[in-house]
C-alpha cells in the first residue's frame, strides 16, 4: 500500500532556528497518525507544511506520489481538511455557513449540501437546531464539532488536526475523543493528529510519531515506544507523561 502523503528530506528554518530538520516520513491511508512531542518540537510546523501554510526550505512533499507545488496547492487544500485548536471559525458566518462555505463557493447543488449537512450533524453529534447560531453563541465543544464538520464537508482524503481538543474541559474532551475515534473508523479516514497527551495518542492513533527538537525520534505504537525505545528521550518523555498523570 502506498502512502497518501510522503515527506522527503523536508526541512524548515525560521531565521536561524530550525523548526524541522531534514525529515522523511510517510503517512499511510486509512490510518490515524498521531504526532506527539514536547512543545516547540515542530508538530504544527509539519502539518502546516503539508497544507501549504508554510513552504519547505528543502525537500519535497508528495500527495498521492505527486509533489505539491505552488500551482496545485490550492486544489490539494480542498482535498485536505484542517482543524486547529480554537477552531478558527469565521465569526461572521453561522455554523451552517461555516460548514458549507466551500461547498457554496464551489456551487454544489443545494440538495446535496443539505444532505451532507445532515450526515455531518449525525456524524459529529451536532444538534441541527444550533446550525443557525454564530460561533460566539456556541460552546467550545460545539465549536470544535463545527470545525470538524467544516473540515469534513468536502469529504477530504486527508484530515489534519492540530490539537483539536486542546482547549476543552476533560468531560467534553473525553466525549469528543470517543466521537473522533468512531468517525475515523467509520470514514476510514486518513488523519494526522497532533496532541500533547500520550493517553489521547494511544487511544486515537494507529501510529504514534514521537518528535523532539525538530526531529522524528521514533515511529510506532505506544507499546513499541515503551518496550523498544529508540532513544533515551523516548523513555523520559513517557515517564514524564506518566508522572503528570499521577498528580
Amino acid at each position: 500500500m502506498t502512502a497518501l502523503v510522503q515527506l522527503r528530506g523536508v526541512s524548515k528554518t525560521f531565521g536561524a532556528a530550525a523548526a524541522l530538520h531534514s525529515t522523511d516520513i510517510a503517512f499511510e491511508r486509512a490510518k490515524t497518525t498521531v504526532l506527539i512531542g514536547p512543545s516547540g518540537c515542530g508538530k504544527s510546523t509539519l502539518l502546516r507544511l503539508i497544507i501549504g501554510l508554510l513552504e519547505p526550505d528543502d525537500g519535497i512533499i508528495q500527495f498521492e506520489g505527486a509533489p505539491t507545488t505552488f500551482a496545485n496547492i490550492a486544489d490539494l487544500r480542498r482535498r485536505i481538511g484542517y482543524v486547529i485548536q480554537d477552531g478558527g471559525l469565521f465569526p461572521h458566518l453561522t455554523a451552517r455557513q461555516n460548514v458549507l462555505l466551500m461547498s457554496m463557493h464551489l456551487k454544489r447543488p443545494a440538495a446535496e449540501m443539505d444532505q451532507r449537512l445532515t450526515e455531518l450533524c449525525a456524524l459529529t453529534r451536532f444538534p441541527q437546531t444550533a446550525l443557525d447560531r454564530y460561533p460566539i453563541e456556541l460552546s467550545g465543544g460545539q465549536r470544535q464539532r463545527i470545525s470538524l464538520m467544516r473540515a469534513l464537508a468536502l469529504s477530504p482524503e486527508l484530515l489534519l488536526l492540530d490539537e483539536p481538543l486542546g482547549a476543552l474541559d476533560p468531560l467534553v474532551r473525553a466525549a469528543l475523543q470517543k466521537d473522533l475515534k468512531e468517525i475515523f473508523a467509520r470514514l476510514k479516514q486518513t488523519a494526522i493528529l497532533v496532541t500533547h497527551d500520550l493517553a489521547e495518542a494511544a487511544y486515537l492513533g494507529d501510529v504514534i510519531v514521537l518528535m523532539n527538537e525538530g526531529r522524528v525520534v521514533q515511529i510506532g505504537t505506544l507499546e513499541d515506544l515503551r518496550t523498544k525505545p529508540a532513544a533515551k528521550f523516548v523513555t523520559e518523555f513517557i515517564n514524564a507523561q506518566r508522572g503528570l498523570a499521577l498528580v
Partner: protein
Amino acid sequence: MRRIRKAGKQESRRDLCVPTSRPIHRFLLSFFSCVPAFLIIFSSVSVSAAPIIIIGSKKFTESYVLAEIAKRAVEDAGVPAEHRQGMGGTIILWEALRTNQIAFYPEYTGTIGEEILKASPSTSTADMRARLEKSGVGMTGELGFNNTYALVMQRTTAERLQIHTISDLRNHPELKFGLTHEFIDRRDGWQPLAERYQLPTQNISGIDHGLGYGALRNGSIDVKDAYSTDAKIGENDLVVLQDDLQFFPQYKAVFLYRLTLPENVIAVLRKLEGTLDEKRMIQLNAEAERTKNYTRAADLYFQNDASPRQPRSGESLTHKLIRWTSRHLELAGISLLLSIIVGIPLGIAASRGGAIGQAILAVTAAVQTIPSLALLALLVPVPFFGISPRTAIAALFLYGLLPIVRNTATGLQDIAQPVRESAIALGLEPSARLWKIYLPIASRTILGGIKTSAVINIGTATLAALIGAGGLGEPILSGLNLNDHATILQGAIPAAVLALLVQWSFDLLDRFLIPKGLRL
C-alpha cells in the same frame, strides 16, 4: 474685524479652518513662482473666454464691499458680472487671478509688495506695475483710502489732552494702552513703534480686538490699535491718531485685474480710482456690518451719483438653507464616495505592511496635516480644479482618506491568525478570501473609518466657502466677517444637525452592513 491683507497680519483666529502661517504663505508663494512650465501653459488655455466677468474678494467685510461696488459698476456698464465672495486669502485670489479664473479683485499695495511680489518696501508703483505685468496682471490707481494699522482713542479723551498725532502720546505716560496680542508680538508692531516714537511702555496690556472697543468706551483703556478703516472707528466716534513719523506701511486699496479684460471693464475700474477716502470706507464698512448686506453697502457708494437702485428681491432663508445644505451634502457626499473608492483599496494594500504599506499610511497622514487653506491654494492653480466645487471636493477627498485607509488596514491586520489560516487552508482563492472572509470581518472597523470620515467631511466642507464653492460655510464665513451670530448659526446649526444625521444613518447602516455574528 481682522483682515488678511498684510504678510503675516494673520487672518482671523476665528477662521473656519487651520490658518496658514506666514512661513507657509512664503513657501507656497515661492513654490508657485517656480511652478512647472506645463501648468502655466495649461492655465493660459484653461479658462480663456469667460462669458461673464468673475470678481473675487477676500473674506473680510471691506473686500466684499469693494468687490460689490465694482460688480455694480461693471453691470451698470452693461457687462454681466459674478462675485465669488470671500475666497481664502491672498494666495488663493492671486493664483486664481494669475491663472485667469477671476477677472479682478480688490487688493492692497502693501500686500502686493510684500506678499505677492516680495519686493522691498521702497519699490515704486511703476516697478510694481511692471512686475505684475509679467503675470498678465494690471493694477488700477489707488482707490483713495489707506487701510493700515493705526492707534485710536476716544474723541473726548483726545480732545481734552490735545492729542492729534502718535508723537503727542509721548507726553502722557499715564495713558493706558490696550493692544491686541498680535500687534504686541509683530515685528513691525508695538515694539518698533514705541522705539520710533519713544513712547512710554509701562501701561501696556494685551486685549482681544473686539473686547478692546468696549474697554475703550468704559475707560479701562485709553489707546488701542485698530485698522484705519475699521467700521468700529465710525460707530464709536473714535479719533485716529496721525502717524506723523510715517511708521506704518502703506496699504492703499487698488484693484488687480487681468490685462486681457475688455477696455470698457478696465475703464469702469479706473473710474473708481480716488473715490473712496478713509471716512467713506469706514462708513461703507459700518453700513455692511450694520445691515449684514454687502450689496446695500455698495449701493450706498452709488447714492452720491443719485442713481439709487430698487432693492433686489432677496432670497428667502428657507431657500438659502436648502441651497447651502444641498451643496454641502453634494460636496461632502461626492468626496466621501471618492475617499471610500480609493481609501479601501489603499487600506488593503497598506494592511500587507512592508515599505509600500508604510508609505501609503505616511502619505495619507501627511496630507491630513496640510492646513486647508494651503491645500486649497495648492489646488486652485491646477487647471482642472480652479475655484470650482471640484477643488473643495478634491480637498475633502484627501482629508477623508486617512480614517478610511487606516481603519481598513488595521481592521484587516487585526483578523486573528487562526481565522486567516483557516481561510487559506480551506482552499479559497485570495480574492474569495478577501471578499468572503477578511473584508466582512473587518467591516465594523472599516465602517467606523468611513463614519469618522463622513462626520469630519461635513465639518470640513465649510472650507468650500473659502473658494466660493458654496455650502454651509458661506453663512458661517460671512457671519464671522460681520460679527453676526445669527448668520453664523444659519450655517453652524444645519452643519451640526447634518453631522448628527450622518452619524445616525451610519449607525443604522451598521446593522445592515456589519454581519450579525460580529455584532453579538
